[in-house]
Symmetry: C2
Subunit: 183 residues, 2 copies
């Protein structure tokens, strides 16, 4: 009888996901390619290898490998071989890729039209939900550096105690593969 049915919420998330996906058949890309492109644009330099993209996208490395090759062929991202580890590759979003990402998004617009109070409670609920679901699945959280246990604020930027690397102000707001939510 409860109208707060877990079923209804699941349904809504699923439906919204599908509507967003349908909206993302544009500019010659498909939803998966948009997801990979947008992740790469928001991830820091330690988190842009195929393995990490596939972790984020909840897909296998093989699948993601193909997606990234396709994006590279379209000139939206570029391959950058690692200097340290000769097995490893990283990808960077090109100017053309960044331009494409400025396209307005259906759900983002709908979110903007929400009242601030609705927005913050929606966000809180989704945040908790995502944390729970991802933990159950054994997936990483993929938050931004400034909310991570390994992060120390240094001046305007910061420092990652896990990777022993200084971070620029911009980098502290990027997504990291090694992210672990601070208490």
């Amino acid at each position: 009888m409860s109208s707060n049915d877990p079923e209804r919420i699941t349904e809504l998330i699923y439906r919204l996901g599908r509507v967003m996906a349908a909206d993302e058949w544009a500019e010659g890309l498909n939803p998966t390619q948009w997801a990979a492109l947008s992740y790469l644009a928001r991830a820091n330099k330690f988190s842009r290898a195929p393995s990490q993209v596939s972790d984020f996208m909840a897909a296998t490395r093989g699948t993601v490998s193909q997606t990234l090759k396709a994006l590279a062929k379209k000139g939206l991202i570029s391959e950058i071989p690692s200097a340290q580890d000769k097995r490893s590759i990283s990808y960077a979003v090109t100017k053309q890729g960044a331009a494409l990402l400025r396209r307005p998004n259906l759900v983002e617009e709908a979110v903007s039209s929400l009242k601030a109070s609705e927005r913050s409670s929606l966000r809180a609920g989704l945040e908790t939900l995502a944390r729970t679901a991802l933990r159950q699945r054994g997936s990483r959280s993929f938050g931004v550096c400034k909310t991570c246990v390994h992060h120390r604020k240094v001046g305007r930027g910061g420092y990652c105690q896990l990777l022993d690397e200084p971070l620029s102000p911009t980098e502290t707001t990027q997504i990291c593969h090694e992210h672990a939510e601070a208490a």
Copy 2:
């Protein structure tokens, strides 16, 4: 600076959608097939034709036609030709299909573990969001009969004033293609 970024909310919905999808490669079905099967189980008898499924799934009739054929071949749904309109087909979930749908779902479990207050505000936010996004897109709402402007309560069941059809108590809780939210 706002941590209620529309971007963050969009991101969370997208990520949850992907995680749910990854979780739905099971029992020989894929995410799209699960979505169609679960819709058919929850839709009323006026809303189970390929056209209506494709409206709901935000896909073309051609794509959905193939998905439904695949489900039928697996014996999870069965084809029912319409008596009135000889162009039209309807689908019904079989016993085997219904049995499959009882599989526990990752996100549904996560939702259940939410506090009741969190759950209701999450639900409210998603409801509004979905309504806005669907209207922007010109999509139908696909609610259940008992919340529809065309619905009149009659005893334990109801009556649809649009289709001029009586509804059993069960039918008033099913999804309808013609649904229009009552004020």
